[in-house]
């Protein structure tokens, strides 16, 4: 009985993915029956194909980025580099419905989410220019074409339905969730073509730029800012194979946001030749010179179009495919591929091995490659407390805590799920 129970526990882990955490595979203890539950969790992930954690941590958490930090990154730069990250908080209620369409196996899913996402693509020159300036390129051109950056901050209300199905005693779920997106903030930069030439002695700078910059209403920031409205949909389903293995298919966050007409658009496709602020009287060295060199004046010079207008953005959506095989009541393995489209993300191929110490405590080892970073190794634990709470905590980047200079991603997740 005990081994059967353990197997069931492992099965539940597989069968109950928490949509927003699907990248992390954090369903350790699955529902045994359809019941009222309340879950709450948070996760973060960030990484880069070229920038190590030592550098990323400085960039994210603050502090001085030193020469040595930059030199290490230089060794990893390629012609096309990526970085990205997500921060997510969410709370969900899953409420069994007595009958819906004469079915008793359906639960209503209601939830709130806060999402913050950033991703970018950049050239080697772009990075060197950004973090070391243009002096190193004196007499040469800096190639910044192809770089882009996408930053979003949104809040969502999720409403969905989950259908519980049984195959030979195993529980599988399928569901759909519709999200209304309250769009808080966005910044989008897309440099189609771009180069910056610095004359050998710095006496002139030639900029050729085809770029588009869009930003949500700059006057409204913070959680109360309502700068746009969007909609997205999550779909998932699970299949139980004849041998008892399970396949999970899911699409998440498929949708778009309409950013309102107070949004800023700056665009240009021209060249710009700068020889310094032209002054009529060099003996008038005051703020006007400084203002002539200011960020705003440079933007003015670079901008062919500087308007306020609405824009629509297809939000990053993810596709998740998992295959899970249970070996025995203690061991289970899960392999999958995860891809986040429209976000400079590389397909993440992952393998997760689960070990159940006892029915109340499970450990999970993680190995993956791709995503925003490179090789990821993780470890997570989940504890069930008196059948009332499931608690989990973990990371997919244990290497980030061991060697920040040789790791390229970091992540963490923590959550609670309560049953009533």
């Amino acid at each position: 009985m005990k081994s059967t129970k353990n197997i069931l526990v492992l099965l539940f882990v597989v069968l109950c993915p928490l949509a927003a955490f699907s990248q992390n595979n954090i369903d350790f203890f699955a529902d045994t029956t359809q019941q009222l539950s309340f879950s709450l969790g948070g996760s973060f992930v960030y990484g880069s194909s070229a920038i190590n954690n030592e550098f990323l941590n400085k960039f994210i958490y603050g502090g001085k980025i030193e020469r040595s930090h930059k030199d290490k990154v230089y060794k990893s730069l390629s012609a096309n580099n990526r970085l990205g990250g997500d921060l997510n908080y969410e709370v969900n209620f899953e409420i069994p419905i007595d009958t819906l369409f004469k079915k008793t196996s359906i639960s209503l899913l209601v939830g709130l989410e806060n999402n913050e996402h950033v991703d970018a693509r950049f050239t080697s020159d772009f990075f060197k220019f950004t973090f070391d300036g243009n002096k190193q390129f004196a007499g040469d051109s800096i190639d910044i074409g192809g770089a882009n950056l996408n930053y979003y901050k949104t809040q969502k209300i999720n409403i969905g339905l989950i259908n519980y199905r049984y195959f030979d005693g195993q529980l599988a779920k399928e569901g759909i969730s519709l999200s209304i997106i309250k769009a808080q903030e966005s910044k989008l930069i897309n440099i189609n073509e771009g180069s910056i030439f610095t004359e050998e002695f710095g006496r002139e700078i030639d900029v050729e730029l085809d770029y588009l910059y869009q930003e949500s209403d700059t006057a409204k920031k913070g959680i109360s800012a309502f700068n746009g409205l969007g909609i997205s949909i999550d779909l998932f389903t699970e299949f139980i194979l004849k041998n008892g293995d399970k396949i999970y298919l899911g699409i998440e966050d498929l949708g778009f946001v309409h950013w309102n007409s107070n949004s800023l658009k700056i665009a240009t496709d021209n060249s710009f030749y700068f020889e310094g602020v032209i002054v009529n009287n060099i003996f008038d060295l005051n703020d006007s010179l400084v203002s002539g060199l200011s960020r705003d004046s440079i933007i003015d010079n670079l901008s062919a179009e500087n308007v306020k207008e609405a824009y629509n953005v297809a939000m990053p959506a993810s596709v998740n495919i998992n295959y899970t095989k249970v070996f025995n009541e203690k061991w289970k393995i899960n392999v999958g591929i995860y891809q986040k489209i429209l976000s400079n993300y590389y397909p993440l191929i992952s393998v997760n091995g689960y070990y159940s110490f006892n029915p109340k405590l499970i450990a999970r080892a993680h190995l993956s490659y791709g995503g925003y970073g490179k090789l990821n190794t993780g470890l997570a634990f989940s504890k069930s407390v008196k059948n009332y709470f499931d608690i989990f905590i973990g990371t997919n980047n244990i290497e980030a805590f061991i060697s920040t200079s040789s790791s390229y991603s970091n992540s963490g997740f923590v959550g609670l799920k309560a049953y009533f």
Binding site: G62, I65, T130, E204, S294
Partner: protein
């Protein structure tokens, strides 16, 4: 579902929320990242012309496109009040009744016309004056024991055709005190006929007083012999805008007087040898009177170097005849007559007066008014707004030999503490100069705070090299120079505190010992490039 079950669920939710809040309230606002970058960028592009180098000068172009500097300064004025003044004057008129009489209410009992002479200085004999400003105060003391009405008229004073007239009640005298009345009349705009009752006198005006018993008196009043009425007429601050008459034959000495000049304020040191200097001393006579001017001394002084040079020219001590101005009958009211005294390096040592870069000009002169007497028949005139003016016009072609000729300028400067510039760590400013002028330029830059407390001098490596000239002493190609100004961390800190920059630029002409001319098309192209270490942060 029982109450117990509901309570259990509520308890679970509260516990869950507590744990959740504890876990997720840990996110804080992180420290901001920062890093240093090396920026190499052009900052300023400018072209300096001679107008920029000598901002307070008038530069004119000669026919050969060479330039000359023109300085014009006002040396001195001789105003109307130097020729004469109408002093404040009190004229007392006492009328004493010769015999006793009785007058009924409304009856005139007294009438008197008097001529009054103005005390005008310097023997000036005026026959007409238009008053610009001033007052006449009329004070009356009456010993008559009844109210009386005094009508006081100055027939010589008219304004828009109306005679100046005053009719006032003077209260009755008591046993112990005279009846007393005082008033002040504004004379602005009045015309004064100063020819008296005969029309041939000068400096003389007529007054008329008429006394009448108050019509409201209770009855007749007896005026005893010896009863007096006293009038005090006080002229106060009378300034005419125009006068006519004979201004007398006067000899007026002016000086020695010093007038300051800022024309050479920018020049602080060095030597300058000018190929040619033309000075024109122009006297403009706005008075309707002939005059003779004798320039006793004209000298210049540089108070910094305590060097003084006096003019040696044939005009010194020689009478210069200035003809009288003419009335136009319109606006402007007069046509000035001018006398021009031309001095140059051939007929004087005027170049020496200029080459010391003076800040003081001293003059001493005599002015003889009407040296030939009253040849105008009393028709000399003077307007207050038209005087005898003296202008000094200096022209010198920019053909010179300069050695370390140092121009100094103080310019306002402010680096915003809030701007992007505040993140500069250190670096070097490079000044790339394409010099089209035939002179070397050494630059010194001093930093000062808002109270002109010295902070530091910037280190300036190298100097701007002068362009070479061809056989015709003309610049053909510009000369490129690179000057570096290191900006250390301390220097950057001082730059933020700097509110004034004192620039000293010392010029030394090339092709010495020949004079080189400055032409209209000469200029210096300057680019300032910043090579900075810059701290980027996201505060």
């Amino acid at each position: 579902m029982t109450i117990f079950t509901i309570m259990l669920i509520i308890k679970k939710i509260l516990l869950f929320c507590f744990i959740a809040i504890t876990l997720f309230s840990c996110r804080k606002d992180f420290e901001r990242p920062e890093w240093d970058i090396d920026v190499l960028a052009p900052l300023i592009k400018t072209t300096l012309t001679i107008e920029d180098l000598l901002p307070d000068s008038i530069v004119e172009t000669n026919s050969d496109n060479s330039l000359k500097l023109v300085y014009q300064t006002h040396l001195f004025d001789i105003d109307m009040d130097s020729i004469f003044k109408i002093p404040d004057t009190t004229i007392t008129e006492i009328y004493s009744f010769p015999f006793s009489s009785s007058s009924s209410p409304g009856a005139s009992f007294y009438s008197s016309d008097e001529e009054r002479a103005l005390s005008i200085s310097n023997g000036v004999e005026l026959n007409y004056a238009l008053i610009e400003s001033g007052f006449i105060e009329i004070e009356i003391f009456s010993e008559i024991k009844e109210n009386m009405i005094i009508t006081y008229t100055i027939p010589s004073a008219t304004k828009n055709g109306d005679t100046l007239e005053l009719q006032e009640l003077v209260p009755a005298a008591t046993i112990s005190q005279d009846g007393y009345f005082i008033t002040t009349i504004d004379l602005s705009g009045y015309e004064l006929d100063l020819t008296g009752s005969t029309g041939s006198e000068v400096n003389t005006f007529i007054t008329r007083a008429v006394g009448t018993v108050d019509t409201n008196a209770a009855g007749s009043v007896t005026i005893f012999a010896g009863t007096k009425i006293t009038y005090n007429n006080k002229l106060i601050s009378v300034v005419p805008s125009f006068v006519r008459g004979y201004f007398g034959t006067q000899q007026i000495h002016f000086g020695p007087e010093i007038t300051n000049t800022t024309a050479f304020d920018m020049i602080k040191s060095g030597t300058l040898d000018l190929d040619q200097v033309d000075v024109n001393l122009e006297f403009k006579n706005g008075f309707g009177v002939d005059a003779q001017l004798i320039l006793n001394q004209l000298s210049t002084t540089n108070t910094s170097t305590s060097v003084t040079n006096s003019l040696a020219h044939s005009s010194i001590g020689t009478p210069l005849n200035l003809n009288r101005a003419q009335l136009t009958g319109g606006i402007p009211e007069v046509t000035y007559t001018t006398y021009q005294l031309d001095m140059n390096t051939s007929n004087s040592n005027i170049d020496q007066l200029i080459e010391i870069f003076p800040d003081e000009i001293l003059y001493d002169l005599n002015l003889n008014i009407n040296p030939l007497g009253n040849i105008s028949g009393g028709n000399d005139f003077a307007y207050k707004n038209h005087s005898l003016e003296t202008d000094l016009n200096i022209e010198f072609p920019l053909s010179m030999i300069a050695n370390g000729l140092t121009l100094q300028d103080t310019v306002d400067f402010s680096l915003s503490q809030d701007g992007e510039s505040q993140n500069i760590i250190d670096g070097v400013l490079f000044l790339y100069a394409d010099n089209g002028y035939p002179f070397d330029a050494n630059i010194q830059i001093g930093l000062y705070d808002e109270n002109m407390n010295f902070l530091q001098n910037l280190t300036v490596n190298n100097y701007i090299k002068g362009a070479s000239v061809n056989a015709a002493l003309r610049v053909v190609n510009k000369k490129e120079s690179v000057i570096s100004i290191p900006l250390t961390v301390n220097t950057i800190a001082n730059l933020y505190a700097t509110k004034k920059i004192v620039l000293n630029v010392g010029f030394t002409t090339t092709a010495q010992p020949q004079f080189v001319k400055i032409y209209e098309d000469y200029s210096i192209d300057i680019k300032i490039v910043g090579d900075f270490s810059y701290n980027l942060n996201f505060e």
